[in-house]
Assembly symmetry: C2
Homo-oligomer: 403 residues x 2
């Protein structure tokens, strides 16, 4: 089902010194699957993160935000239950899990970051999760990235894990990350969990800047259905067991490597979007601001009419023009907007070009990946977002998810 | 397919003195269907309207806005082709149709309002439409409202026509209207055409105020998929052949009658939304402003995850909480939000209520019509929007519409 998304090759996933991962079966929602993952971090590790902006943020998000102020010794993630919309009881249950893991690894509960994903408004089976933690701790190994990626999946069909190496002044640093998506992939961290770790050493302030900049160029540029979830979190972890990055050049290089890993993870979420059959980049160029370009790009990427046309490989490109028109750019001169489908020039001067060839447009849209490019001709800013089509299976998966 | 939407009873559709309607077959997109409708207005008729705010507004919208400044003698509507995204050539073709009708009824082209609906970015077959106008003019009769409603349909499965009578100081006035919807039903006049006429006499300024107030309480409160189209228009026509409404009381009474007709038409569009199997009212109460209540209501009504849950009769109410949370009400205290499904109290205090019964929630959601009620507890404003679910057939209809 996923669009051009092979299963990660374990040989290409580099361990990150100072990060051990372990998984176990807690039976959170289904029996017989690994649904709990623990990530233990070496002493001295720095963690920074960005979280959902949904006002109903889940209990684990509340705790993780709070615990980020302390040194962090471990992360614990469960799938199957999001512990969201669960009120104060939910906070207690998330804390119970932190306490159980803290006891197991000799840390304080406030040094544990909890994460949950799955159905919402159901009580978290915290005792079942706690009971599985000893097995997860016993399983902790630096080479467990792929198993960890599998343990955090919900409706994902393929685990997402990506690695890169980057040469810094004091040696090579490793960057490895995992993510889970499913539906509701959207900017502002919608139902996604992303964990990217490096063995480089980074000062806390630089790490916090980096996680925001990376998120804006990766996870905040993807959308499946526009819904923003209650639990989404992207954590950037720097263990400092490898080379320190402190010069501007090293920080830029490391930031680029982390961005590359995060972008590949974010794109993998879209490729594996619920029911996705097409992977589409929407690039908006020559706008007055990045914000304006993003507005237009997301207006296209969120339109159910456009997305069903993608599914049908139907070059009903007027739907794209309509989405540009209602994106909320008030003084947009539609006569100056150019629209391309890959290299095929489609529209300009407020309408379809005389040179337009439906046959060529069809050829482009029939491919599993293509680019919708919009040129606004009003500035120098640009933005790209990645999305997928809207298929029968999207409805099927989301209509049947709970039952 | 449509949810509780019987075919209008012709006996319940009252003619409006001064409005004659005629239809004909032009073969715009399909042969053998009535796809052109003419509405001739008696001398002295006033017309006011609201139009799509899409920046790519269609050629007929550009002309209709311009011609509204003049006295209006007739409206001409074609289905099958929206004449949108067609640039300057599109304007010429819309004007060609106005000119042809003007010649046929002895008026000026600038006294004709053109409307088009259907596929976009295809050249309007203006000559075929013009060729069919004599037959439409020959067909003009005051009793043709139902035939007119049928002639403007696109993917609608049921014609929409509603009538009411209202007692004014100087006698009874009639209000009759027709509308067409299909997909893309959304505030800001998305792919909908609505024409409501009354024989009451109303001063131009009062009529302009009335059409805006009515739109805000009817067509701007409905959504199928959130897309806003290029062509949507709602016209309010007052022929003055019946009693004049000039007192505040009469204007209020007439406004209420027009609102009632427009609301029933708007709701009919949702009931007949593409693939709709459920009709859902989303009512948000006790917000600080109507704008804030609408924001929350549309956030719920636009969420594909919520809408697929409606389709599945799945009380996955956490999806509704999530949509409330990302509606953009920045200082929303989620602990104070109450959520009801019809009379079933679902959530409060940031989570599911202890008293919540999934069985009762299921019973409510299995009905073809129900209400989602959200109480924000932060003010006195409220707003209601109407929407439908998201089904397999929505994808099917929109994936196959062009082919």
């Amino acid at each position: 089902m996923a669009v051009n998304l092979p299963r990660p090759d374990p040989a290409q996933l580099y361990p990150v010194r100072g990060v051990e991962l372990g998984t176990a079966m807690a039976g959170v929602r289904k029996q017989g699957r690994r649904d709990v993952m623990v990530m233990r971090l070496a002493a001295g590790t720095r963690v920074a993160g960005v979280f959902t902006r949904n006002r109903f943020c889940a209990a684990p998000v509340v705790l993780a935000k709070k615990h980020l102020a302390n040194r962090v010794r471990a992360l614990v993630v469960n799938t199957g239950n999001a512990n969201a919309g669960t009120g104060k009881e939910g906070i207690d249950r998330a804390y119970f899990v932190c306490k159980a893991l803290a006891a197991g690894i000799g840390a304080k509960p406030s040094e544990i970051l909890p994460f949950s994903t799955g159905v919402i408004m159901e009580p978290l089976p915290a005792e079942r999760i706690a009971a599985a933690l000893p097995a997860a701790v016993a399983d902790l190994r630096e080479g467990n990235w792929l198993a960890a990626a599998e343990a955090i999946m919900t409706t994902d069909t393929v685990p997402k894990a990506v690695s890169a190496k980057v040469r810094l002044a004091r040696g090579d640093a490793t960057v490895t990350g995992i993510a889970k998506g499913g539906g509701m992939i959207h900017p502002d961290m919608a139902t996604l969990l992303g964990f990217v770790a490096t063995d480089a050493g980074i000062a806390p302030a630089a790490l916090r800047r980096m996680v925001r900049a990376v998120a804006d160029r990766s996870f905040n540029c993807v959308t499946v259905d526009g819904d923003t979830s209650t639990n989404d979190s992207f954590m950037l972890i720097a263990t400092g067991k490898g080379p320190t990055a402190s010069s501007a050049t090293d920080l830029r290089k490391l930031g680029d490597a982390v961005t590359q890993v995060a972008q590949r993870l974010a794109q993998a979420l879209v490729r594996d979007g619920e029911g996705a059959t097409k992977f589409v980049a929407v690039k908006v160029e020559r706008g007055r601001s990045v914000a304006e370009c993003r507005k237009v790009a997301f207006s296209i990427a969120h339109s159910p009419l456009v997305k069903t046309a993608f599914f049908a490989s139907d070059p009903n490109l007027g739907r794209i023009l309509a989405a540009i028109g209602y994106a909320g750019v008030r003084d947009l001169d539609t006569d100056r907007v150019d629209l391309f489908l890959d290299e095929v020039a489609v529209a300009g001067g407020g309408g379809r070009l005389a040179s337009y060839s439906e046959e060529l447009a069809l050829q482009a849209m029939r491919k599993p990946e293509f680019t919708v490019r919009v040129v606004l001709h009003r500035g120098r800013a640009e933005a790209t977002v990645w999305t997928c089509d809207f298929s029968y299976d999207y409805v099927k998966i989301n209509a049947e998810y709970r039952t």
